[in-house]
């Protein structure tokens, strides 16, 4: 690891000022991905601005929203009463990710900013447009088993590895972002981006900006019938082949509203709007869920190594909807 300067500002404002001073500086909170990337020489910041002790860890009700401080730990969020009561899907997704120790370190903001697990991204000896723009994508014609079936480009077929973000995308969360002058709000589904011809950019956070919170509406329709299904090569502590966050609002057996998002299939948490629209007003039956799975796959495109996802993904959607509906 390249050595670096380290500062630990005590206020959000001084942190934002610090990051602005040096282009090659980075925030660090849990460090569970950044330290990993620095050890591999994939990230080489000259200065780390430690934000782990900034007062942005609270989970509270703010004007009808559950506001989760960006510095809140994944384990804290997963076991928070407000979350368990109003957004159990988020808790389920968090518990499906990483390990207890990592969840005790990783923050909400850091989870959103974690980089892909594409093996070519981590190996500085091999081409990768995300790590070294212009060198090419090794995965397109290489190992693509873990890679995207939605929204990829020839420049990059990597996927975003988070579980938490899949749930937040499904729950219509909003991201609160600050720079040293102002704050802005961004729909969660607009936070991450597709690779296009700039796969080095994972999201729409601008230089000098800091995620300070994520908000979920307190009164939402999805406090009851939710499921997070994660299909992986071992039953815990593994990244998803595909994962599905499903939330249903049911009136008896009839679906009032549905929310569906997938992980492990795209450069960002992949919201399945067409399938959601289809489900609205339908009965919660396996046949209907099968059709939803089929609709969800309409724009899917597989690569030689991940054709199985075209079967596994709709199956996982069916399973998640069945679990959410309790059938």
């Amino acid at each position: 690891m390249l050595n670096f300067d380290y500062v630990r500002p005590t206020t959000q404002q001084s942190a934002l000022n610090a990051i602005k001073k040096n282009k090659n500086s980075a925030f660090i909170a849990g460090g569970t991905n950044l330290v990993d990337l620095m050890k591999r020489g994939v990230a080489t910041p000259e200065k780390l601005v430690d934000i782990s002790r900034l007062p942005m860890k609270e989970i509270s009700l703010v004007s009808g929203n559950i506001r989760i401080g960006a510095g809140a730990l994944n384990s804290t969020v997963a076991e928070n009463d407000l979350i368990l009561k109003n957004a159990p899907l988020l808790s389920k997704a968090l518990h499906a990710g990483a390990s207890p120790q990592i969840r005790n370190m990783a923050t909400v903001g850091g989870n959103m900013l974690q980089r892909t697990r594409c093996p070519y991204f981590y190996d500085t000896a091999l081409p990768c447009n995300k790590r070294a723009p212009g060198t090419g994508c090794s995965a397109v014609e290489g190992y693509s088993r873990m890679h995207a079936i939605f929204g990829a480009s020839n420049a990059c077929i990597a996927v975003h590895p988070s579980d938490m973000c899949v749930a937040l995308a499904a729950l219509d969360a909003v991201v609160v972002i600050a720079n040293n002058k102002t704050e802005r709000r961004l729909a969660f589904t607009d936070f991450h981006r597709l690779p296009g011809d700039k796969p080095n950019l994972d999201n729409n956070l601008q230089a000098g900006e800091l995620i300070i919170a994520v908000e979920i509406p307190e009164k939402n329709l999805f406090s009851e019938h939710t499921a997070y299904v994660k299909v992986r090569d071992r039953s815990s502590y593994a990244f998803a082949l595909v994962s599905v966050a499903a939330a249903l609002s049911l009136n008896g057996n009839s679906i009032r509203e549905a929310r569906l998002a997938m992980g492990g299939v795209a450069h960002k948490p992949w919201r399945l709007t067409a399938a959601e629209n289809f489900l609205r007003g339908k009965s919660a039956t396996e046949d209907i869920f099968k059709e939803a799975g089929r609709i969800a796959m309409q724009d899917a495109k597989a690569y030689p190594g991940n054709k199985f996802k075209l079967t596994l993904a709709p199956n996982a959607i069916i399973e998640a909807l069945k679990q959410a509906a309790g059938i």
């Binding site: 690891m1 390249l2 050595n3 050890k39 020489g41 697990r117 093996p119 981590y122 190996d123 000896a125 091999l126 090794s138 014609e141 290489g142 190992y143 088993r145 299904v229 299909v231 992986r232 090569d233 071992r234 039953s235 815990s236 502590y237 593994a238 990244f239 082949l241 199985f308 996802k309 079967t311 596994l312 199956n315 996982a316 069916i318 399973e319």
Partner: protein, 741 residues
């Protein structure tokens, strides 16, 4: 005597391990130690044309950067004059032995610095320029058509008629694929090396054999035995990866030599995939032919595996087909093909585990074709004597193991039809698979020393990578001496002790246990000798009817026919003015064994739950039944069997080394992407033993256990998945994508 052992089953290493005071290779405190880190090649095939080490040398804290251009000579290396084009057996990679690159991540430099962080960073600054050549690593396509290594080990073997299977009314003819699997012990391979002058060296090393490591270093550096000291008091797992001396160990010795300082070198987890061996990819074809009532008349087993461009590696992939069942006609072919990969090495169960996956899968396929219970098919072809040598078995209780296992899992209660059982939304399947492994006994020396305080110390130069060797040896000594275990200690991990075996091939307990038994018997004989000379005891002797019939046991020598006529060991030693009394003995393979074939056996019964939509397989229950001879240490023996099953779960469900064949480079050489089982993958596992001694093999009656714990396990899982789903999977690992495909 066994009553003595109750409540004494805990590992003798327990306290050291759970308090963190157990000292593994990289943890010995040697003042002034420098840190060495290897830089690996970024190509798999080619020649280094230039090295740029200037940046690394300038980096803070760097003491030395060693490459093939400036490495101190290794006198035992053969001079490198050209690229090796024909691999040979036993020729390990000569680190920094020239500009030729044979595999990706081959060490091209070792950087030595004052701290770990500085050495690590500087190692990333070493750059090489290469003349690249196209790497050949795609063993997944038509491996059988690739050039193969010649040699006597690779001759086809035929018993009876090679093509007899073709004449049988019921046939199975299928291919089975096993990917690269990697040992990945939890402890990273590590070494601390320090030279004392030009010709004397001490190493703290991760090794399964302190004597074999000592000999490798002696031969590499042309040193005298007494000038090479190896310590390995604790070894954090091995599973075969620490059976030999690897290039990083020589690199550390070179770095220590060059800097004149103690040097510590710890491999990274990534390097654990490229520098210390792996279980090789193997493609197998099995043909089985049987009569309608299930008597197998012919078997052919063909296996193709990989090796490195510079060294031949071979293992017993097809052995199991020659001996597991009573089949009159058996043809085997085993070939290895060089690719741009590092040399594989034995990994738990080695080739037999690979072979058993294919054979035991094919047996299951045959049973369904015959509409016969897979267990009954095995019983119908049970071998009463070794079909290959014709010799009787030294002991064989496989049928008893079948019975134990089948009863424990409820084998006969299942619905034998495929895809017939369900629990909630899961498909339920039962499968079995078994195997055997050669039971052997080698040469070992041990010394036993009894102190005047009544404490017994037994010593031998072995190391223990996990099974609990010291614990078992204390039991052997306690049993033979009739002494409480807390008075006995077993010391190992030091090459200056009498030479013991390398811990591999399921032979430690048999080999070393025999030595401990013999040396404690010799010690008892010495104590009886003292008793015979004893003045205070002479009156008792004079009154005895059979003065020769003395027994040494439980801290005293007594008359066999009258235990009250006794004298304590302590008194005997005091009389002679001895502060201690010791015996050293060498134990050798038994002559009698030449007339016998000896194997340990296991059978694994597995219940799986398969989720039909997501293809995820849950191992719900495991029963392993073993015939491993007399069980010396029941608690640790059970743990070892459970551990083998956990390794088997990895092999069956998730372990797969992946290379990108365009670059010949590893894709998943880390613990996040190369999956090994975690807690949540592992159910309750029941380990059962027939527990009958094999006294032909050795005086303690123990056979081996480490290998049979995993041999046949992966087939049991694949067979259970077939029973659950009706889908036959012949390529490991059984990941969700294959189940739903």
């Amino acid at each position: 005597m066994d009553k003595l052992l109750e409540n004494e089953d805990d590992r003798v290493t327990g306290r050291a391990v759970v308090t963190g005071s157990a000292t593994y290779a990289a943890e010995h405190q040697v003042p002034g130690t420098l840190y060495a880190v290897l830089t690996g090649s970024t190509i798999a095939h080619g020649t280094i044309t230039a090295m740029d080490t200037r940046q690394a040398e300038r980096a803070p804290g760097v003491i030395a950067v060693i490459t093939h251009l400036n490495a101190p000579p290794v006198p035992g290396y053969e001079p490198v004059t050209a690229r090796i084009t024909k691999p040979e057996g036993g020729k390990g990679m000569q680190v920094f032995g020239g500009p030729y690159i044979y595999f990706n991540d081959q060490p091209i430099a070792v950087v030595v610095a004052d701290t770990f962080e500085r050495a690590t960073y500087a190692a990333s600054l070493v750059k090489a320029t290469y003349q690249k050549e196209k790497p050949e690593t795609d063993f997944t396509i038509n491996i059988e058509e690739r050039p193969a290594v010649d040699g006597p080990r690779f001759k086809d073997s035929t018993r009876g008629n090679a093509e007899a299977w073709k004449t049988a009314p019921v046939q199975v003819s299928e291919e089975y694929i096993l990917p690269i699997e990697v040992h990945n012990p939890m402890e990273l391979h590590s070494i601390i090396a320090l030279w004392d002058g030009e010709d004397k060296v001490t190493v703290y090393d991760k090794t399964q054999g302190v004597i074999s490591t000592q000999r490798s270093i002696m031969s590499a550096f042309k040193l005298k035995q007494e000038n090479v000291q190896v310590f390995a008091p604790f070894v954090g797992g091995g599973f075969g990866s620490a059976l030999r001396t690897w290039p990083h160990e020589i690199a550390a010795l070179l770095a220590a030599k060059k800097t004149g300082k103690p040097v510590k070198l710890v491999l990274t987890r990534n390097q654990m995939f490229t520098m210390v061996g792996y279980r090789p990819f193997t493609k197998q074809k099995i043909n089985l032919g049987a009569t309608a009532d299930g008597k197998i008349i012919g078997l052919s087993h063909e296996a193709h595996s990989i090796t490195s461009p510079y060294e031949v590696f071979s293992e017993g992939v097809i052995n199991i087909s020659k001996t597991l069942y009573d089949i009159p006609n058996v043809f085997t072919r085993y070939q290895v093909h060089p690719f741009n990969v590092s040399t594989p090495t034995w990994m738990r169960g080695p080739g037999e585990a690979t072979g058993a996956f294919a054979l035991e899968s094919a047996m299951d396929e045959l049973s369904y074709k015959l509409k016969m219970d897979p267990l009954d098919l095995r019983l119908a072809n049970h071998a009463e004597k070794d079909p290959e040598s014709g010799k009787p078995f030294s002991s064989k209780f496989l049928k008893e193991a079948y019975q134990l296992g089948a009863d424990a899992i409820g084998w006969r209660q299942r619905n034998p039809l495929a895809a017939s059982m369900k629990e909630a939304n899961m498909l339920v399947g039962y499968g079995l698979g078994g195997g055997l492994f050669n039971a052997s006994r080698g040469t070992a020396k041990a010394i036993a020393t009894l102190g005047a305080n009544g404490n017994l110390v037994v010593q031998s130069a072995v190391s223990d990578s996990g099974p609990g060797t010291a614990t078992a040896m204390v039991k052997v000594a306690a049993n033979n001496m009739g002494m409480p275990q807390d008075k006995i200690s077993f010391e190992l991990g030091d090459s200056s002790l009498p030479p013991g075996p390398t811990q591999g091939g399921s032979t430690t307990t048999s080999t070393l246990g025999s030595a401990v038994h013999i040396v404690t018997s010799a010690l008892k004989a010495k104590l009886i000798g003292l008793a015979k000379k004893s003045k205070t005891f002479s009156s008792t002797l004079a009154n005895a009817h059979r003065p020769d019939d003395l027994v040494a046991e439980g801290g005293m020598v007594y008359l066999a026919e009258n235990k009250s006529k006794s004298i304590s060991f302590g008194e005997l030693m005091k009389e002679q003015g001895l502060t201690e009394i010791s015996a050293m003995e060498e134990s050798k393979p038994n002559e009698k064994m030449k007339g016998y074939a000896a194997f340990s056996y296991s059978v694994h019964f597995v219940k799986v739950l398969v989720h039909p939509l997501t293809g995820m397989i849950k191992i719900d229950k495991v029963v392993i039944a073993g015939d491993a001879g007399k069980i010396i240490s029941p608690k640790t023996a059970e743990s070892q069997m459970i551990g083998g099953a956990v390794g088997g779960i990895g092999m069956a469900l998730m372990e797969e080394g992946v290379l990108d064949h365009r670059y010949g480079r590893w894709i998943n050489n880390n613990f996040a992407d190369y999956h090994v089982p975690v807690h949540h993958d592992v159910p309750l596992i029941q380990a059962l033993f027939v527990d009958k001694p094999d006294l032909i093999l050795n005086p303690i009656g123990a056979k081996g256990m480490g290998e049979i714990a995993i041999i046949g396990f992966a087939a049991a899982v694949a067979n259970a998945v077939y029973h659950a789903t009706g889908k036959r999977l012949r390529e490991l690992p059984l990941t969700p994508d294959k189940v739903v495909a």
